[in-house]
Amino acid sequence: MGKPKAKVDTKECLACGGCISVCPQDAISWYANKALVDEKGCISCAICIRTCPVGAISGDGAL
């Protein structure tokens, strides 16, 4: 059992790109001008969750 993956709430995301810039796995990219986490690449480090200035990323993604 792994930890839950990071997930972006696209309604909250303001597309600043901060999460993409700090992801150590390069697992976040633009999709329709919002940040999208690639679940296969995510290692549940939570760096993106702590970085998001508006709290749009949570650890609610797939296990």
Partner: protein, 395 residues
């Protein structure tokens, strides 16, 4: 259709690079993932007036207000003032970044640059390792576009660098995570830009209030990502606004987020590829300011790429002139200010209060972070021992 140059991203660095490459005769295409250049704005919108002499912007539509000076407040409210008269009127503007970006794009278009919107770069075209162009997603359709040189102007979140094996991943301690309201019905008492420091106010960063005329202001916060928790930037900003009487009757007309690299310089050149702007981390690590760098260095990038097209030499060796030249402009300043950033991060609120107290009646020669640091080193030679060697490095 093959281009000489593809610029990924239509921010200031991308548009200025594109313009000067086109003016040197190159066939240039900008690909932009968004559907409107300059939107959403991701910026505090302050810029130095030194751009006046650079022939970058025409007219005044992009100017929201003129700054009279700056005030810096320490955690206990001690104020250090840098005013326009002591600075020889060399201050700055608060701008409309969306119009600013579109004006720079217009100059690029006038030089013959083509612009493709809704076009997101998703990879580089390579032939046996050699960069041949860009793969884009244009209205959900994948397309390959060939070019001899690719300009990564794709912002703090740059992927272009990574695709060319330049490690652009930022450490959380090298990123400011930001939020900003544009508030209306504000009681702006004057045209000073205010900065608020303190571990509780904005850990590893600051809060800013930039007036745009007499009753509108950008009120924003940047905190260091390594000191941040989920949503903390917005929460601290909301708390600051709730306590300040200037905003008692204010209402938001815009809310935005931002991310600013405050890092050491990185490699910016490969065969057939260069990085500019935030993608190249060309941001002052103390202030988080990068707009003037985008214009000044974008011009250099465009000139070098233009020469590469004229000589048909797209090697890393040839394009290295760009890196040599941007280092002449900001290399020393970036290194020095990164060290200053680390020194400031080690200081507690009490030390900031003491430093502010010692500078509250100081007459500054100019309105710049360098003059502030020089004054601090002069007043506190032992405390700032680590910074003394750096002061021999001039701007």
């Amino acid at each position: 259709m093959k281009y000489d140059v593809i610029v990924v991203g239509s921010g200031p660095a991308g548009s200025v690079t594109a313009r000067f490459a086109a003016e040197a005769g190159a066939k240039v295409l900008i690909v932009e993932r968004r559907q409107e250049i300059g939107t959403p704005v991701l910026c505090g919108e302050g810029i130095s007036r030194k751009i006046d002499d650079w022939d970058m912007l025409e007219g005044t539509r992009w100017i929201a207000g003129r700054m009279e000076g700056a005030r810096i407040y320490s955690p206990n409210g001690t104020m250090v003032k840098l005013s326009a008269d002591m600075a020889g009127n060399e201050t700055g503007y608060v701008i409309y970044r969306d119009i600013f970006d579109q004006e720079l794009a217009r100059r690029a278009a006038k030089a013959g640059v083509k612009i493709m919107m809704n076009a997101q770069a998703i990879g580089l075209l390579k032939d046996e390792g050699k960069i041949k162009g860009v793969k884009i997603n244009h209205f959900d359709e994948e397309r390959d576009i060939e070019a001899d040189v690719i300009i990564g102007a794709d912002g703090v979140e740059s992927k272009v660098g990574k695709w060319a094996d330049i490690d652009t991943t930022l450490k959380p301690k090298d990123l400011e995570t930001c939020a900003q309201y544009t508030l209306t019905n504000v009681d702006c008492k004057d045209a000073y830009c205010d900065f608020y420091l303190g571990k509780k106010i904005a850990p590893g960063g600051y809060i800013w209030v930039f007036p745009k005329g007499k009753d509108v202001a950008n009120v924003g916060i940047g905190i260091l990502a390594s000191l941040s928790e989920a949503g903390m930037a917005k929460k601290l900003l909301d708390e600051f606004i709730a306590k300040d009487s200037r905003f008692a009757h204010a209402e938001p007309v815009r809310f935005l987020a931002g991310a600013v690299p405050v890092a050491n310089p990185i490699e910016t050149v490969r065969d057939n590829l260069i990085l500019v702007g935030d993608a190249a981390r060309h941001v002052d690590p103390i202030t988080g300011g990068g707009l003037t760098h985008c214009l000044e260095i974008g011009k250099i990038a465009g000139e070098v790429v233009g020469k590469a097209v004229q000589t048909q030499d797209f090697s890393q060796d040839f394009l290295m002139e760009y890196e040599m030249r941007w280092k002449e402009v900001i290399g020393k300043k970036m290194k020095r200010n990164y060290r200053v950033k680390e020194t400031l991060l080690d200081m507690d609120d009490k030390t900031f209060n003491m430093l502010a107290d010692s500078l509250k009646d100081y007459k500054f020669e100019e309105l710049s972070t360098l003059s502030l640091i020089k004054a601090l080193v002069l007043k506190h030679p032992t405390l700032l021992m680590k910074l003394r060697p750096l002061m021999k490095i001039s701007e």
